[in-house]
């Protein structure tokens, strides 16, 4: 397995959606390489095409032009080598927590005893003990999200594709999950493409943070976090300490500003910026 090779590769990817006679350019000429065992976060305004990018890596959507490669092969269909955590959880309502988490392993043909052991491990990791036999609708949003995460982790995939996986969690659980993800990444590094709205989360978790522009989504900039993280040994420190470091706040503020500039540059009519107000004046 080529360790140095890039695992996920977007090559001049564009995606046009057709809605009636209207054509929507959702993703415009995005080129992005995610190295093997690298953690890349994508941040950007709502509707800028983050989910679309992730779906193309998952094989659930396809580029209108350009190509998407995973492990040097053009993505043709979804598969358990690329586990997806969906923005909307996508838990099977007719399956219990245990059955949902074990589904991927069952598809792979893992024998029941072994499967149960693995499921138990992830149930404990996600703090879902006592809810093994509950159905998704009986759980809170945050718990459902943890089931969805456990379902992907249980597959131990080469590539993890996570679409705002912590979006529905309360602040406390969210921090626990972030630390857990960092811990997992250290024990068992994987290639991760991680979408989030939370800039702090992106900086804390990712080796690199890709910032996207408003629709049509392009890559505005890629910020390299890994050197700083390694130099200051973020992994060794508790999250609140990391978030207080000067280097962390510096990176976070830089990305925030980029996103805000992005929003103001192309703000729509209702969001009047000082500049526009001046222009609109008599």
């Amino acid at each position: 397995m080529g360790r140095s090779m890039s695992q996920i590769s977007f090559q001049s990817v564009s995606r046009v959606f057709r809605r009636g006679s209207e054509e929507i350019l959702a993703v415009a000429d995005v080129s992005l390489e995610v190295a093997d065992r690298e953690f890349v976060a994508i941040v950007g305004p709502s509707g800028c095409g983050k989910t679309t990018l992730l779906r193309m890596a998952a094989g659930l959507d396809f580029p209108s032009s350009g190509s998407v490669l995973v492990g040097a092969r053009e993505v043709a269909e979804p598969g358990p080598d690329r586990a997806v955590v969906f923005q909307q959880f996508a838990l099977f309502p007719w399956k219990t927590v245990r059955e949902n988490i074990g589904f991927g392993l069952k598809c792979r043909g893992v024998p029941a005893a072994q499967r149960n052991a693995a499921v138990d491990r992830y149930i404990e990791m996600m703090g879902l003990q006592g809810h093994e036999n509950a159905y998704p609708h009986q759980l809170s949003g945050g718990m459902q999200q943890r089931v969805a995460i456990a379902r992907s982790y249980a597959l131990e995939p080469e590539v993890l594709l996570m679409d705002e996986p912590f979006g529905a969690l309360d602040a406390q659980t969210r921090i626990e999950m972030q630390e857990e993800l960092i811990r997992l990444a250290r024990v068992n590094p994987r290639t991760v493409l991680f979408i989030t709205h939370a800039v702090e989360e992106a900086v804390y978790l990712a080796d690199r943070v890709a910032v996207m522009t408003r629709r049509p989504g392009r890559l505005a900039e890629i910020i390299d976090v890994a050197p700083v993280r390694r130099a200051e040994a973020w992994e060794e420190r508790p999250i609140e300490e990391v978030m207080d470091l000067g280097s962390f706040t510096h990176l976070r503020t830089r990305i925030w500003k980029m996103l805000r500039d992005e929003r103001e540059a192309k703000a729509e009519a209702p969001r009047v910026t000082p500049l526009q107000r001046r222009k609109a004046g008599p």
Partner: protein, 281 residues
């Protein structure tokens, strides 16, 4: 506390049509009383009309006479069998035809929901056949099967088949696309997709279809029995008619109504149970 619970329940019911009590809608007791009132009015009117002599007793027997005949039929054989035996033979045919329709229709509908090309192939033919009333198959049923078991089954099948297909197809089509995508990403093959995603996802719709299908099957059956068999409630009614025994005909009608009602109640309960299991309402 109570308020919060109520809010949760409504939230859990989500997009499903509100089946809750409307403001001022009757409770269980009131509902029971109202139904009883309806029956009382119906039988009262019947009694008065029959008793007044406006309509000759031969055309409209009085409720008391029908009740007595009904009771009589339960232990004195008529047209070869007692009422229960006739019913049993009808129910047997019903079950066979209905089971066949479900066994063929539900998988076909699911496949049509999954493979669009199959839908495109089958739908036009199906849409044509769907509007042929079950009773219209009687000539062919008699021609092909004579008085054998095949005739009524063909007729029941033609009534029961369409709702099975339509509801299974719709159920499969309306499954949340994310769930199918998730299953594919988790490595589900075709068989597992069918067994563990498509069938359970479409089940509420399938069961609703089975309920409609059972009702139509039961209706079609009695039509079939009027013509092609020598036992069953329909046959009992035909024999009653040829003997000018209107109370017997009416007893048959009442038996049909009761059994049909019971079938519906049973399937309604099954449907409610499945819906509850699925979305937790």
């Amino acid at each position: 506390m109570g308020g919060a619970v109520a809010a949760d329940v409504t939230a859990a019911q989500g997009a499903r049509p509100a089946r809750g009590r409307r403001r001022g809608a009757p409770g269980v007791v009131e509902l029971g009383l109202l139904s009883l009132g309806g029956f009382a009015a119906f039988f009262g009117l019947w009694f008065v009309v029959a008793r007044s002599g406006v309509v000759p007793a031969r055309f409209l027997p009085a409720p008391g006479v029908v009740a007595a005949t009904f009771f009589h039929l339960t232990h004195d054989p008529f047209a070869g069998y007692t009422l229960q035996q006739h019913l049993l033979s009808s129910i047997g045919r019903f079950l066979m035809g209905f089971a066949l329709a479900a066994a063929a229709g539900v998988p076909l509908g699911l496949l049509m929901g999954w493979f669009r090309w199959l839908d495109d192939v089958v739908s036009p033919v199906f849409e044509g056949f769907r509007f042929i009333a079950p009773i219209a198959w009687v000539p062919f049923a008699a021609l092909w099967f004579g008085t054998g078991i095949g005739g009524p089954i063909l007729i029941i099948f033609s009534g029961a088949f369409p709702p099975c297909v339509i509801n299974a197809q719709r159920g499969a089509r309306l499954i949340e696309p994310h769930l199918i995508e998730a299953a594919r990403s988790l490595g589900a093959g075709h068989c597992r997709m069918f067994a563990e995603v498509l069938v359970p996802g479409a089940l509420p719709s399938i069961v609703a279809g089975l309920r409609i299908s059972a009702g139509l099957a039961w209706q079609s059956l009695v039509g079939a029995e009027l013509i092609v068999v020598s036992s069953g409630v329909g046959y009992l009614m035909v024999q009653g008619q040829s003997n000018l025994a209107t109370p017997i005909v009416m007893s048959g009608m009442i038996a049909i109504g009761i059994v049909g009602f019971l079938i519906d109640v049973a399937l309604r309960a099954a449907e409610a149970r499945i819906r509850r299991g699925w979305a937790g309402a």
